[in-house]
Symmetry: C2
Subunit: 211 residues, 2 copies
DNA sequence: GTCTATATAGGGATAGAC
DNA sequence: GTCTATCCCTATATAGAC
């Protein structure tokens, strides 16, 4: 318990990963904190969260595991930080949905954005696919209100009274179709240019939702 | 190392879960081995493989964790045994595919069967969804030739030269659509009767593959 | 900001009694 | 077929030096 606060007063901004924000030290690239997150994302995606030790992460970066505790309060804190990057996208989707009842048209628009996001952050989405268990444990402990909202909205849309069963199944199916094509079977289409793949997927989604 | 062989000479038959094979002891239901697998499947699906200890499994069954080692050589052996149940379905799909090039029609037939299987063994598929990382580690150690075959065939179909990109994406999408509707968003459609859900899904798949 | 050294716990696995 | 007792290792996490 008694989580230690990150020493740098910096808020946990959604680091876009771009070459934007300069590190605290040299003018050179990313801060140590971000470098830890990058390596962690890579290893967690490859081997899974539980099978990856802090030692492994530290070794890759050239220092010892204890040093990590300067930047993060715990191993779970790292997991959470990565999850937060992902969460940004969810928030965007949420606002886009508004609070009216979900319609197939809206869903199509949502997935349209999602396709771009997934294409651009493939590993991040793959990470979520492959670490569902660890992430659920995370939410069981820390009750993230924001996450609940998102999840609830999602489920609500999929159980909406206004839409018949077939329509709702089609919505779920469209979502799964996108995820499977981009994240899960990712390396099967790895050589396909993103724009081309995106184009086909949009067609598939439109077809599926009949819009 | 030096894996201990299961004492009961029984081959690891694909226990269908039915009330078929009587236990060794009383005429009453399942053998201890199967009861362990059932509880393990439940806990692994709920909390994840790594977050579930042998102690937890044993507690649920009313004995201590050491007793488990009479039935299984290791914790991974339990994971493997559960995975083998799943593998039966893959094998069936494999033979159904034959060795000719995959066509959308064949794929539709494949998914037609898959829908039934998933509907009937939802938790088993959900388990696989949520423990992808642990399962991949399993295959990294023990080189399962059969599994390689299945995986290879799957990828091969998705990268087949005979089918254009859109066709292949549609195949991947169809698969993802089914998985998402049945396993991932499972509780959203939990109250929907299986036959009704299956019917809609078949329609969606046919639509998606244009057959 | 990064390090060494160390505390502590929990989990997987073994040996052998009953 | 199930149990107790125990070994051993790894991993998280802490304290505090540089």
């Amino acid at each position: 318990m008694s989580p230690r606060v990150s020493p740098s007063g910096a808020p946990s901004v959604p680091d876009s990963g771009g070459p934007g924000d300069p590190g605290v030290d040299g003018a050179k690239g990313k801060s140590t904190r971000e470098r830890i997150l990058d390596i962690a994302l890579e290893l967690f995606t490859e081997q899974g969260f539980d099978k990856t030790s802090l030692r492994e992460i530290a070794d890759r970066l050239g220092f010892t595991k204890a040093a990590i505790y300067y930047h993060f309060a715990s191993k779970e804190d790292i997991l959470m930080s990565i999850h937060l990057r992902f969460h940004e996208f969810g928030r965007e989707m949420l606002t886009q949905m508004g609070d009216g009842p979900a319609t197939p048209e809206m869903w199509a628009g949502l997935l349209d954005r999602a396709i771009d996001m997934i294409l651009e952050h493939r590993t991040l989405f793959l990470f979520h696919e492959r670490n569902q268990a660890a992430l659920e444990n995370l939410h069981r402990e820390r009750h993230d209100a924001e996450h609940e909202d998102l999840q609830a909205k999602f489920r609500q849309a999929l159980s909406s009274e206004n839409i018949d069963l077939e329509g709702r199944v089609r919505m779920a199916a469209a979502f799964g179709a996108v995820m499977a094509s981009l994240a899960v079977a990712g390396d099967a289409f790895a050589d396909v240019p993103s724009d081309k793949l995106g184009l086909v997927l949009r067609k598939v989604v439109a077809d599926l939702l009949r819009v």
